[in-house]
Assembly symmetry: C2
């Protein structure tokens, strides 16, 4: 049970960045116990979500051949076959993605006043496939690497025909934050330092790759680059700093 | 005529950031001449926009009292009355804001292949008032300052109940980039360095203030902070570097 919550919170990466909480939502029981330090509180989740919310990380009709091809490549590495024909987990793992964060607790009472029913995850707030952020994340725990395949929709425009610098920053925060949260506790973004090298045309597919530089106490340092899918063109590079945080204050009412 | 184009391009701030081009679109004639260095080309604009597109910088029903109060304060400083009762421009200027970039030229031919008809400005891509980015920018040329009043809608969620770090980065890029483009030529974002100090609750209104640190050749250095509306709480601070660019290649077909 505690492990379920731990896994849930592992996806939560902070107070100024993106939680991919939905990833664990399907695994949550409707009533779970949470133990933190010296306090144990029952948290009842009256899940207002459909039993199987839409997983935005799966292919849809808007994905172009480049996006689909890369998805299939990394997805094929998520499961490998042994010599004996047995299937087991591969080196990569696809991270599902939903448009909601955690919502209710304690029998319908809000988990806290800051968790609002109408809220939607910034990168998943559009129903129209292909219009904005189309992306899927794969993580390789062994190599401490994360790869995101990102197709930029026409509603992300900044300068004519190109992706807005803020939309690029949003994807960098998403990828590095999700990566940092996979490594340990929930985290919050403390710093993003982004160099814009070359503009990204609307409609194009790019790769966003992150790797862990170091961990020091509560700090996780991650670097990241955005390139063309063949890696030949560098669009953006960035460093990110995340701080591990306690989140019990978000879940508990005392 | 050349001045009209100059004013048009002044609003365009780069290849990885946000142009507020619509601001001058109403003033453009349907056929204008553009002189750049040694080339003079006729650029005909078959404006596919309604004559008066929606100006997103004007109040709507979603604006809360804090947003409205601040808007009225800065708006009142855009026009002052002399002792003789005459009205004239004040120290501040409100910047109109639209959801499109420049689209067509030369009698219906695309300005360039990179300018797409369906594209919408990232920060103005929602029709629903209050759902995402509600903001208005005021600029004070004399003091080289820019102020943005920003109300964060429920579709900008990152961590539960709080604004996504990418949405904050988007607003910082928008404000600093618009500010840099007001000072000189069109610019592109070269670097954003953002420190996240304190999370911003969804639905709240904050102030984003930018000031010019220095200009060196093609470079403009701007710093920026995001605070509560009374200035007592620092949410985010950032520095930004912009490079002046030539944009004739976006407008001309040879």
């Amino acid at each position: 049970m505690a492990r379920s919550i731990g896994r849930l919170l592992k996806g939560f990466h902070g107070l100024s960045t993106l939680p991919e909480l939905g990833v664990q939502l399907n695994h949550l029981p409707t009533c779970v116990s949470l133990r933190t330090a010296s306090v144990r509180t029952k948290v009842a989740l009256s899940l207002p979500f459909p039993p199987k919310p839409r997983d935005f990380s799966l292919p849809n009709s808007s994905w172009g051949p480049e996006m689909l091809g890369l998805y299939e490549h990394y997805n094929s590495l998520c499961e490998v076959e042994t010599e004996g024909g047995e299937k087991r987990e591969g080196p990569w793992q696809r991270l599902p993605s939903y448009n909601r964060s955690l919502k209710y607790a304690t029998g319908g009472v809000y988990l806290s006043k800051i968790i609002q029913s109408k809220a939607r995850l910034f990168t998943r707030n559009m129903r129209d496939p292909g219009a904005a952020f189309e992306y899927v994340l794969f993580v390789n725990e062994g190599e401490q690497r994360c790869v995101c395949i990102f197709q930029a929709g026409h509603l992300l425009e900044g300068p004519p025909g190109h992706v807005h610098g803020g939309a690029i920053a949003t994807m960098i925060d998403t990828v590095t934050g999700t990566h940092a949260s996979q490594l340990s506790e929930p985290v919050m973004t403390a710093n993003l330092n982004i160099n814009y090298r070359s503009p990204i045309p609307l409609g194009s597919t790019v790769l966003i790759e992150s790797c862990v530089d170091k961990k020091e106490g509560r700090k996780t340092f991650i670097s990241c680059k955005v390139t063309s899918t063949d890696g030949s063109k560098l669009h953006t590079d960035a460093t990110a700093l995340f701080l591990s945080i306690g989140v019990s204050h978000l879940l508990l009412r005392e």
